[in-house]
């Protein structure tokens, strides 16, 4: 393939790619996101390849391994195009049936269909599955349609058309104007208007300018950036090149979290392909604009998600933040003007250019435009990645898309914004999700993690969990963050161990104020949020721990006791076998008893008992 030197070349390329695509042609897509990988989708793909080869169907059927489809709960996921037949939890043993029935005879394999738990009805097409119905997948949707290692797949769906348009038909300031008018705000957590950031960076003094893609996705429970990079890396690259052109930068970096090897692999391939096509490096699409992108792997430090820490890390230094009296758009990487945006933000850019800012700004609320990808995880029936318009309610997300709470348990809270965010209670479920509304609750949008908690989750324990996380991840440079978080964690640990005292809650609130006000960067500045929101909405749980020495959710080991209900115990001995402490004894077929002095409260007995004879209080 010779390099693209003009828009005409690019159009020719589009044509030649499209010629090879037959929308009527059968295609088996197998989701190969990290979630489905963990379920063993590789073996399923391999089985399809062999089955198709054995039946000599290579000429009639394509097999495509795609990025994450989002519905991780039901993996491995297989979708047959063009009919969009949706098969879930597909195993190697199912492959022969899918080929012989669906591919050859257009029959549905009923046992692989998704069953709507509310109606009991089987659903055939992907778009009709309730999980997908209320979503608006303008950024994430293509993941399910393309092989991330194929640039042609991306081009066939209109990829790089926005770049061609920008380079040949728009001036940098026009691009900035479009992004400003679209209302796009940073998807990494801060929510700063993207167009304005670009403008600041463009106007800053300096000879060199850098653009950075922040893919150091550190919030536990958030994995949308990884899924975008893994599943549709070209959309991120295209966004970055457009941004670089608008800002006037010739060097970009993608800073990827160390734990994301597949993302690194797919982006590396994507950069190579873009170079070969003349979409990266020198004289992009013959426009005279040069831009190259380097990939850097992070070192596994959460604080490096903070822009100044990330830039320090890129320079080969400790990932410690600095005070932002001077913003990074003026003095960032190596003291040059630097524009940093998160993966999802970059992926929004080509869509805005293609569809226009008017179209884009029609989606969402007054101050939060477009869509947001959330990872819906925790105590929820439909775990997965969802993309919804801003302004949708939490209730719709959790109950309509997420399918509610497993095992008929009661919803307690949803945690958003990662360790910087907070827990939102049931009374606020009708809240319409956007940047402002989430901040008003004391939580925040963050990068988009949504961890659902049920009645069995202890909110004091959750606050302790996040502080423990932040204590480990605080870089230690400034005292309020390093010492304040440690002191708060000590108090919370005491409370969960039954040593809480009157006044602890007030002390936590006071410490929170100091840590939030005086920390150097956002890590410390927002660290008290999980504590403050749990106190605000679940103070009764704190009181129960402190005053009654009781953990209402039955989580904190020091405050619970396991015992055996002698009426229900059949003496089967299952618990005796699993108890690591030999704390349970009794004769066979006789009710057993549990020695409290030996019990370490590991919960193994409760897990194996089939007769609900183990009681946790």
């Amino acid at each position: 393939m010779s390099k693209i030197k003009s828009t005409e070349d690019f159009e020719k390329l589009q044509e030649s790619v499209n010629k090879t695509r037959d929308p009527e042609r059968l295609c088996i897509t197998v989701c190969s996101g990290t979630g489905c990988h963990a379920y063993g989708c590789e073996k399923v793909t391999q089985a399809f390849v062999e089955e198709i080869r054995n039946r000599d169907l290579q000429d009639k059927v394509d097999i495509r391994t795609t990025g994450c489809h989002g519905f991780c709960e039901r993996g491995p996921i297989v979708v047959i195009h063009p009919q969009e037949v949706f098969y879930q939890r597909v195993k190697v043993e199912d492959v022969a049936d899918v080929v012989s029935e669906t591919i050859l005879k257009k029959n549905i394999v009923d046992r692989l269909l998704y069953v709507d738990p509310n109606t009991g009805k089987q659903i055939i097409c992907e778009k009709d599955v309730p999980f997908y119905k209320k979503q608006r997948r303008i950024i994430f949707g293509n993941n399910a349609l393309i092989d991330p290692t194929s640039i042609d797949d991306y081009i066939a769906l209109g990829g790089y058309a926005a770049l061609s348009k920008v380079l040949w038909e728009m001036k940098p300031l026009e691009v900035i104007d479009v992004i400003k008018k679209s209302g796009l705000r940073g998807r990494g957590g801060g929510g700063f208007p993207t167009g304005r950031k670009w403008e600041f960076c463009r106007n800053a003094e300096g000879d060199r300018r850098y653009v950075i893609c922040n893919a150091d996705e550190g919030d536990p429970g958030a994995y949308m950036d990884r899924s975008l990079l893994e599943g549709n890396p070209h959309s991120v690259l295209e966004g970055m090149i457009i941004g670089a052109y608008a800002i006037g930068s010739h060097q970009g970096f993608i800073y990827v979290r160390n734990e994301y090897p597949l993302a690194v692999k797919n982006v590396t391939i994507a950069i190579q392909q873009a170079r070969e096509y003349g979409l990266l490096d020198r004289d992009i699409i013959g426009s005279g604009f040069d831009f190259e992108i380097k990939i850097t792997r992070g070192g596994g430090a959460f604080v490096c998600g903070e822009s100044t820490a990330l830039m320090a890390s890129l320079e080969g230094k400790l990932g410690e933040p600095r005070a932002k009296y001077v913003h990074t758009v003026e003095k960032g990487l190596w003291d040059n003007p630097t524009n940093l945006n998160n993966v999802e933000t970059w992926a929004n850019v080509p869509v805005i250019i293609n569809k226009g800012w008017q179209w884009y700004s029609d989606i969402g609320t007054e101050h939060s435009k477009g869509t947001k990808i959330f990872s819906l995880v925790g105590k929820i029936n439909n775990t997965g990645l969802i993309e919804v318009p801003m302004g949708i309610s939490l209730r719709e997300i959790i109950f309509d898309i997420g399918g509610g709470i497993p095992e008929g348990k009661k919803f307690k809270a949803v945690q958003t914004g990662g360790p910087s965010g907070g827990c939102i209670p049931e009374s606020l479920l009708d809240l319409l999700v956007d940047f402002e509304k989430l901040t008003e609750t004391g939580s925040m949008m963050g990068s988009g993690g949504m961890i659902v908690m049920d009645e069995d989750t202890c909110m004091v324990d959750v606050a302790k969990y996040f502080l423990n996380f932040l204590k480990e991840e605080s870089c230690g440079k400034c005292v309020p963050c390093r010492e304040g978080i440690r002191a708060m964690l000590e108090i919370l640990t005491r409370i969960t161990e039954g040593e809480g005292e009157e006044g602890d809650v007030e002390l936590l609130q006071e410490l929170s104020e100091v840590v939030a006000e005086t920390s150097l960067c956002a890590l410390g500045g927002t660290a008290p949020n999980p504590v403050l929101t749990t106190i605000k909405y679940f103070r009764d749980e704190y009181e129960a721990h402190i005053k009654e020495k009781r953990c209402p959710a039955g989580v904190c080991p020091a405050l619970i006791q396991y015992s055996i209900d002698t009426e229900r115990c059949t003496g089967c001995g299952a618990c005796v076998k699993v108890c690591p402490q030999e704390a349970i004894s009794g004769q066979r077929k006789q009710p057993h008893s549990l020695d409290q002095a030996k019990c370490i409260k590991c919960g193994a007995c409760l897990e194996v008992c089939k007769f609900e004879a183990v009681i946790k209080r």
């Binding site: 990290t34 979630g35 990988h37 963990a38 379920y39 991780c72 709960e73 993996g75 996705e217 550190g218 919030d219 536990p220 429970g221 958030a222 994995y223 990884r226 899924s227 160390n258 734990e259 850097t296 792997r297 992070g298 070192g299 596994g300 430090a301 959460f302 890390s313 890129l314 320079e315 080969g316 230094k317 400790l318 990932g319 990872s375 995880v377 925790g378 105590k379 775990t383 997965g384 945690q415 990662g418 993690g449 961890i451 908690m453 989750t457 959750v462 969990y465 996040f466 996380f469 991840e473 870089c475 699993v578 690591p580 590991c602 919960g603 193994a604 897990e607 194996v608």
Partner: protein, 152 residues
């Protein structure tokens, strides 16, 4: 110790000081940890003070200054795994292996580590053994994977 490997790694990054973190990552991949000799050598080749290399090696979670075991068990402690009881699984592994998270068994067979989130939350709680994901872990499942691991 084969320091040629270290030279090769540094050369691949064109002797650039700013690439030190990537260089350390590659050294770790080569040796399974960061041997003191390799660090000293890399520092001198790049003309970076050893103290600076040491501070990087101890700041970033990805690095280990101690040799790691033949098998690596990683327990995900992401929020989703946490609310589904990941701590109990970690504690069980610690008890059974007789080591704490971050340590390696005396016979150098197994290292136990934790990770903040693997982003495979549908499978939580998750334990990864030598790159293989084991989802929806329970105490009983932990026993059976440990049994398999002992036979490896």
């Amino acid at each position: 110790m084969n320091l040629v490997l270290v030279d090769d790694i540094i050369a691949r990054y064109r002797w650039e000081k700013a690439a030190i973190i990537a260089i350390l990552q590659d050294i770790q991949r080569e040796f399974n940890y960061l041997p003191q000799e390799a660090l000293t050598y890399a520092a001198s080749r790049l003309a970076i003070p050893l103290t600076q290399v040491y501070s990087l090696a101890t700041f970033y979670r990805a690095f280990s200054l101690k040799p790691r075991g033949k098998h690596l068990i990683t327990v995900c402690l992401g929020t989703a795994c946490h609310v589904r009881g990941a701590v109990r699984i970690l504690e069980k592994l610690e008890r059974e292996l007789g080591i704490k998270a971050g340590e390696t068994t005396d016979d150098m067979r197994v290292s136990l580590e934790t990770v903040n989130c693997l982003g495979a939350c549908a499978l939580g709680p998750i334990v990864v053994i030598d790159g293989q994901y084991h989802g929806q872990m329970t105490s009983v499942k932990t026993d059976s994977i440990l049994k398999k691991l002992r036979k490896l």
